[in-house]
């Protein structure tokens, strides 16, 4: 009777106690790590924000033109806020990784290992996106100025199209770095891009054949005519 009682209640309880003795300290450690990490992340955000404000980071970013983009997101109050939150997110990320590592279970260790292996891809994708934003901005502005100086009526639309195209290309490359649907995305991009070019060629060459001819004729004629009548220097 006693052995039945032991088998039914005491042994499972002892096993649970033994397991708990292993798990609870780990859980407590994970919890403490997360609490300390959260606090450190908050402090890091606060300090970074103050430092960026002291360095007049907002004004510096304002000159690059990224400020308006940050404003438009409606998520961040200012470039300094974005920087501070980024640092906070980084501290959080490392805290979680640290906590997972501390848990020391096969699953958490594997997760951490995979994540660490993935970090270079994340960095590469982030850099590609950053570069994409900068390049798309630069190229679209150049396109806008060229179109305005050529007095094309749809100058802004052209600039917007150029920007979307360059950003799309950057996103496709970034996603490829992250190994997220790389081949289908690449194929989809190629199809859409080729489609746009083909559609534009058709629209210009067939749909607006007369306009295209007149425009080219006018272009050739006015460039000569203007030189004949007017000198700026």
């Amino acid at each position: 009777m006693r052995s039945l009682f032991d088998r039914m209640f005491v042994e499972p309880f002892n096993r649970l106690a033994d397991q708990s003795a292993h798990v609870v300290p780990v859980l407590i450690m994970v919890l403490v790590t997360l609490i300390i990490g959260g606090f450190l992340a908050f402090v890091a955000r606060f300090l970074t924000y103050r430092l960026l404000q002291l360095a007049q980071f907002d004004r510096l970013v304002q000159r690059t033109g990224f400020s308006s983009m940050i404003d438009r997101t409606g998520v961040f109050r200012s470039p300094a806020d974005l920087g501070a939150r980024f640092v906070q997110a980084l501290v959080w990320l490392f805290t979680v990784l640290f906590a997972l590592n501390a848990a020391d279970t096969p699953a958490s260790v594997e997760l951490v290992r995979r994540f660490v292996d993935y970090i270079p891809n994340l960095i590469a994708a982030g850099l590609v996106l950053l570069l994409g934003v900068a390049v798309s901005r630069m190229i679209s502005r150049s396109a806008l100025l060229a179109a305005v100086n050529a007095q094309w009526p749809a100058a802004r639309m052209i600039a917007g199209g150029v920007r979307v195209l360059v950003m799309t290309l950057a996103i496709v490359i970034a996603l490829e770095q992250l190994h997220i649907g790389s081949l289908p995305l690449l194929v989809a991009f190629a199809i859409v891009f080729a489609g746009i070019v083909f559609a534009l060629a058709l629209a210009f060459g067939l749909g607006a054949r007369d306009m295209a001819r007149q425009w080219l004729e006018a272009k050739v004629r006015t460039s000569v005519a203007e030189e004949e009548v007017f000198r700026h220097l």
């Binding site: 007049q56 004004r59 510096l60 305005v148 007095q151 000569v224 009548v229 007017f230 700026h232 220097l233």
Partner: protein, 430 residues
């Protein structure tokens, strides 16, 4: 220096040894007109400088229309109807391709190098597409250098009232305001200068910039004034070009000329900040009235360009213009037709704010300059509409008035410039 001289040119220069006068003619596909220019120069050298050793140098940008052959075959120099006495020395003639960035500035650099190599006392440069050049131009540009101790002679022409709008609207009044010398055609294209100034030009490291292109004229003028060389002007009469001017696209020209001028403001900041007034520049030659070719200008197209610029480039303008200037520009530019008017004060403030933004790189410099083109066209339209009924004298008075506004607003430039400098100093990361 050796990279500027192909072996063939070097041996030719060694043959020549030394020269008193170098006349440089930059060219690119000017076979149609360069023969006349070479002939006028040859006769000018033979007639006015018979005792001097002279070289006519064609610095060519790779013409494919036999420009170089025309230069070498052009007659001249011994025209009995024009000469009182025959020259002691026949002028040498060189036609050589230049090296470096394709452009007028690179062509000039080769001319400076040849002048330096041959220890020339005076140099003259003339455009290869001139139809109104006469032999007297060589004398007017070279004699003040050879005999009166001048280092730099700028041209002075009679031009149509609508002609030379970058000169009249920006470069002339700003040169006068900033550097204190009233050089009326600072980017005229024809200049005389001393051998020592040519050497000074050669020492500068600017040949990878817009100075190598259309920026060369203003760069030469400002360098000569700002570095204290003795500057004069020569009255040349009318300036008539060939109709065809390859590569003369407004946006590029504007960018190169105005960009070079703004860059010079950075280099010579310590010079122009001290200048408080301007003085007249001595004039050589005998001023006379000439007829100029009629010009027609499509002001509607220019007004439309300005209006489109203000609408489409607002984001770019807001990066370097003050909110007040931008608001005023918007309000004035959106007036149509004959009522269109851009006040001088607004134009000047806009230029000064742009120059400051260029200096402190508030926006990509190339984008800034390109964005000014529609506003420049608006200003040109405003000027044309204003002087439609005016004669040449009244137009000169009008340009003089603009110059006075540039001068009156100079404290605004200094204040903007200094404030931007301080702002940048404080914005340095701690």
């Amino acid at each position: 220096m050796d990279e500027l001289f192909p072996a063939e040119l070097k041996s030719r220069l060694d043959q020549i040894g030394e020269a008193d006068i170098i006349v440089g003619i930059p060219s690119y596909n000017n076979a149609r007109t360069i023969g006349h220019v070479v002939r006028a120069v040859s006769v000018g050298l033979a007639k006015y400088f018979p005792a001097q050793r002279s070289v006519i140098m064609n610095s060519d940008g790779g013409s494919r229309d036999k420009t170089q052959e025309v230069v070498m075959q052009a007659e001249g120099g011994a025209d009995d109807l024009l000469l009182v006495s025959h020259p002691v020395h026949a002028s040498y003639r060189i036609s050589t391709p230049y090296h470096g960035i394709p452009g007028k500035g690179s062509a000039f650099r080769a001319i400076f190098a040849v002048a330096d190599y041959l220890h020339a006392k005076a140099c003259v440069v003339v455009d290869s597409d001139l139809r109104s050049i006469t032999p007297a131009w060589v004398e007017l540009l070279a004699r003040p250098v050879l005999e009166h101790g001048y280092d730099y002679i700028a041209p002075y022409y009679q031009r149509h009232k609508y002609d030379g709008t970058i000169t009249n609207g920006i470069i002339y009044p700003m040169t006068r305001t900033l550097y204190g010398k009233s050089v009326r055609q600072p980017i005229g294209g024809e200049f005389g200068f001393s051998g020592s100034l040519a050497r000074r030009y050669l020492e500068k490291d600017v040949w990878d910039t817009d100075v190598a292109r259309f920026g060369i004229d203003i760069w030469m003028t400002v360098t000569a004034i700002a570095e204290g060389f003795r500057v004069g002007q020569a009255y040349l009469g009318a300036k008539i070009h060939d109709a065809k001017d390859p590569g003369a696209d407004l946006t590029s020209m504007f960018r190169q000329v105005v960009g070079s001028f703004f860059s010079l403001m950075e280099i010579y900041e310590n010079v122009w900040k001290k200048v408080t007034s301007h003085e007249a520049v001595p004039m050589f030659g005998f001023p006379f009235e000439v007829g100029v070719e009629p010009l027609s200008v499509n002001t509607d197209r220019m007004v439309h360009a300005a209006q489109q610029g203000i609408s489409d480039l607002r984001e770019i303008y807001s990066a370097f213009l003050s909110p007040k200037t931008l608001a005023d520009l918007t309000s004035f530019v959106h007036r149509n037709g004959q009522g269109f008017h851009l006040p001088d004060e607004l134009w000047v403030q806009m230029i000064y704010e742009a120059a400051t933004a260029y200096r402190y790189r508030r926006i990509d410099r190339d984008h800034l300059l390109q964005s000014l083109v529609p506003l420049y066209l608006g200003r040109t339209a405003s000027f044309v509409l204003e002087v439609t009924e005016s004669n040449a004298t009244q137009v000169e008075e009008r340009i003089e008035k603009l110059g006075q506004v540039f001068e009156a607003e100079k404290p605004y430039l200094t204040q903007q410039w200094d404030a931007a400098g301080k702002e940048r100093l404080h914005a340095q990361p701690v």
